[in-house]
Each structure stands twice: as C-alpha cells, then as structure tokens.
Point group: C2
Chain length 332, copies 2
Amino acid sequence: MTTIYQVSELAGVSLSSVSRVMNNHQHVSENTKNKVLAAMEQLDYRPNETARSLASSCSNCIGILVSELHGPFYGDMLSGIESELRAVGKHSIIAAGHSDESSEIEAIRFLIDRNCDALILLVDAVSDDYLINLSKGSTPFALINRQIPELTENCFYLDNKLGGYLATKHLLDQGHREIAYISGPISKQDANERLIGHKNALTEFNLEFNNDLFFEGDFLTKSGQIGIKKLLEGKQKFTALSCANDEMASGAMRGARDFNLDIPADCSIMGFDNAFFTEYLYPQLSTIDYPIKNMAQMATHWILKNVYKKSNLTIENLFTPTLILRESTTSI
Amino acid sequence: MTTIYQVSELAGVSLSSVSRVMNNHQHVSENTKNKVLAAMEQLDYRPNETARSLASSCSNCIGILVSELHGPFYGDMLSGIESELRAVGKHSIIAAGHSDESSEIEAIRFLIDRNCDALILLVDAVSDDYLINLSKGSTPFALINRQIPELTENCFYLDNKLGGYLATKHLLDQGHREIAYISGPISKQDANERLIGHKNALTEFNLEFNNDLFFEGDFLTKSGQIGIKKLLEGKQKFTALSCANDEMASGAMRGARDFNLDIPADCSIMGFDNAFFTEYLYPQLSTIDYPIKNMAQMATHWILKNVYKKSNLTIENLFTPTLILRESTTSI
DNA sequence: ATTTATGTTGAAAGCGCTTTCATTCTTACC
DNA sequence: GGTAAGAATGAAAGCGCTTTCAACATAAAT
C-alpha cells in the first residue's frame, strides 16, 4: 500500500503539503501541487480513508436505517441516496431494523459506533421521545416518512392527509358515493393520516363515514384480500374502494376476482404509493404517487448542507402526493 | 467521547489490558477483566471502530456492489447479507454501478479504498479479465450470478441452464408443443444459459428450435409486451410462452390481453426468478425460483469463513432453481 | 529601505486504537 | 529451594492521515 509518506518523498515535499493537496487547501503553490499530483499519479496513490476518518473525525459516511430491506419501497430510496452521496465522494452504510423497537435502537447505535457523520432513518418502531433525545446527541439525522413537531427540521414526509383526500376525491369525482376503505394499522401515523384524508373528502361531499365500509389491514397484500371479502360480505354495498397502500390494493383486486367482480366495472379500486409493480397489475392500478426517491434525495441534501456545508439547495420538508390515473378506476 | 484511555484509568490498568479485554484475548486475569468491564459499563464506553480499523487494518466491513438498487431483486439479496453480517458485528457498505463498465470499476475502487475486508459483487458490465485480475489483489470478493472458470471458488450462481430447461419442460409436460421463447439479451451469460436450457428441453422432446418462435428482449417489462406482439403477429402459432424473467413475462401477459387472449386458456406463460410481484399478478405467474437470498447468504458465509475465519459451514457454489407452479400455465 | 500583510512550507503532535516486546509474577517440577 | 515454563501486565511504537504552529518567503504598502 502506498502511503502519503512515499508520495511526499517522491515529490520532495513534506507530508503536510501532500495532505494539503489532497484536501484542496488554499495556499499551496502550483509548483508543489503539480509535483505532488505527479507523484500520486506515478505511485497510483489512493488515500486510506480509514486513516483520514480517524485524523479528521469525519467518516464521510452516512448511516441508513430502514425497517425492512425488501419490498418495493426501499430500493428507490436507497438508490436516491446512494447516487447523491457517491457523486460527492461520500458513502452510506446500511442497516435494517426489523420493525421492533429494541432492534431499531440497536441498529442506530451500531451506525453511530461506526462514526457515521449523519443518519437517515426510516423507522416507525422507535418512539418520538427516543428520537427527540437522540437529537441532543452529536450525530445529526434525517427522518423519512415521519413527522415530529419537535423535530420539524429533520423530518421529510408526505402530506398523507392530502394523499388520502386525493384518492377518495377522485372516486367521488367519478360519481361514486359508496366508497369502502381499507386502512393500514391505525397505530401508524401514515395510515392514520391517510384515513383522515379519506374522511375529509367524504365530508366535502356531505357524506358520512360509515364504519361498515371500513377495514383495518396491516399494509400487506393478504389483508387487502381479506378486507375486501369482509366488506363484500357486509350489508353495505359499495362501488369503489380506496386502499391505504398498493399491496393491499393488489390483494383487494385478487379478492374481488374471487367474487367474480370486474375491476373497474363493478368496483373501482385506488391504491397508494405508486410502487413499481402497480403497472404490472391487470388492470393497472390507479394510485397516489409517493415521491420516495425525491424525499430521500432531499434528506441527503439536507445532510450535505448542514453537516458537510455543501449544497445550497433550499430544503423542503413536506412533499406533495399526486394522483396517478390508470385502469383500475372508472366513473359510475 | 469516552476513550480506551479513560477506561484504563478508571479501571486502574494499562491500555493494553483494556484492549485485550475488548478483543477477548487469552491471558487476562478474571480480576483485570472484571475491573475493565465494570469501568466500561460505568462510562458507557463504545469503542471507536475507525481507530480499531486503522490499528488492526481490518475494517469489519464488506462492500457490496450491485448494478442497480431498484427492482425486485436486490432487496432480498441485501437483506440476506445484512442480517448475516450484523449478527457477527460486521457491516456492509453499498454501492451501485449503473450497468456500465467504467462506473462499475470506479465503484469497486471506491469500495476497496474504504478498506473493505471483502467484496460481494453482482455485476455484469465488468469483464472476466478484469475480475481475474482483481482476484490477484488483496481484497477477496464473491461473485453472485456469475460463473468464471478461473474463479470457481468465488462464484455463486444459479444453474440457469437447468432453470430454462425446467420452465420449458413443464410446458412440454403439460402437452404444449408450440412453445415460444422471449429471451434476455443473449450477450448476458444468464440469458444465454436459460435459452440453452429451453433448447435442451425441446431436444428432449424431439422438437426443433424454431427461430420464428424466438424473441430477444432486454429483461424489462416493455420488451415482453413487444415480444409477444411480434410473436403473435408472426406466422408461427404457439400455445405457450416461456420468458427469461418475470418482468418480461408480466409484459407478455399485458401484451396477450391486447390480443384478447386468455391466460392460461389461450396461452400458458412461464416466468423466471420468482420475484415477489409474481404473486400479485393476475393470473399469478408460474415461474422458476431463483434463491437469491440463499445465494447472498452463502456468499457472506464464504467471506466469514475465508476472511474472518469464522463459520465452518460447507460452501456451495451452484444453486438449483425450482419450479413454482401457479395460475399462468395449464395443460393443453 | 523598512514595515506589514499574505502566501507557502515543514516539524511535530495527535486521532483512538492494536500489537510487539520486555518485564514481572505464578505455578509446577525436579 | 532452585529453575524453567507459562501467565499476566505495561510501555511504547505504530496504523496513515490531519492540523496546528512556527518559520520563512514574497509581495505590497509606506
């Protein structure tokens, strides 16, 4: 391994000068700079990043924690972060907590121990209080898909309420008046807000929220299938269904087929998230776009700006969902 | 930040002893050990991993490079690796090369510069020669989904030929004799092998490979749709279609619908990979399971065994695909 | 020509650990 | 009781870099 020492020797300058050249310091003469660059080239010198981290107490590394690594969501998020980071010579280390509090906390400590300069967290098992407390520590972090009043700066989240509203509003605009809803776990912030949006849309059309048209799922496919079955077997008829995510919507489509329903003729179905597979479904799923990649990139920029003092982008914390119209919804 | 120095002071022992305790060295008395452990506890000491890496020239970090981060494939792979690694206190840093040779090479250098103890690579833009040459360097690496004769030890790959065979064999067993095939880019090793498997199955049934029943796609959805259109418009009729991956199969399903074909009644369709979304499709796609997660874990174990001298698992390099029967195929 | 500000450089002290080496302390054995 | 082998410990030298500090050189201002 070539070290800075060998470079300095070959270039005939001191270690300090080599270091200055490496770090683009001001006050290095063209002459020295050229000698050093030439020596580096000749030796194919590659700085030891570990040593740099230790000496500068900056690891150029940001830690990413997601609750799960599979599913359609995280790939987009990670690729958004990774490309931004690598473009500026930084990198990410990735951990997955498995949706329970203690393992998420452990994962956060793990990342902090690795001297991450900052963290990007997509977690929901961990409490607000824990995060508020964490924010008093020395490792800055961005929170994706979460909104904590005390930590507004750090939060990058979707206007879920608007998203829920948009979905149901679209159905209403198409003439539907009996609209069922399959929710995610109400204990989760995003699920709850999407439901509120749904209710808001109903209210706008002077419609009452009807509990017989409601089913609480768990965001997984199966619960969409189960949900629509329950709903269909219930006494209350409906002509449209709004689901709190695409997985459940896909489950609901399958469930509808078990009842020989035609989508969208017999029942319009809306999803939420605009996962890539929604285009593969038949019919293609109308949904609400969740710009996760943009959000992840914005979180990255926030870190670039605040931690590394690069990037002068204006930071936005609230993201707007948009309606994606495809084949699974139709007017009545 | 608490350092080893403060621990040693509080415990009343030397730095060396603290280090020994941390690293579970032999020849530390129970007494010293307890004092050190108590001091660590009291100070909530967390070792600086960067410093450890530098001093020991072992980063406990393995680099992962995939060509793309999105898509249905990589999540499974990453979660397989991440969980294995974190269980033994190691971690991964992730880079994405964007399917072109120079950026993949750059990404590999990037990972090596970060002192990764080893690499796991899922790449296809980079040449065999480059990898053979890389293997002479000091950073060991595992190759996933690739087979290089000179590097058999490092390669973890699927028996793609068998997979291609299994898919078409199933169709043949169901009585189909006119079987179309939509391939991935023949320039890619896996696409090529799957095609060979397809041909082998035909041969076994004394059938000729018919070029009118062949379309070369690019592994993306759209090309499946285009492919089946071309095939359907061709002169040669067929009752079944085998696709070299699930994305193209999903595109083909869509294309078939454009022609008002019923799947599987009018045409059976096979996919390949068993991506999670195949269950969301209608009809659910019959496919070939690609045990990517197992393969990634095996690659990780290989590293654990060879680089860190842990794990005494027996390493297997060749993985066997299996037939997954769902709704998109039927007998004639 | 003298002062002042500014640019350029190298020596040396760390960053927080690991690891070698030498030293001291035990234990076992003849 | 003396010796050898082994166990337990600490001092000190790095790992490859960054960064302060002081020294010196140069240019601009008086």
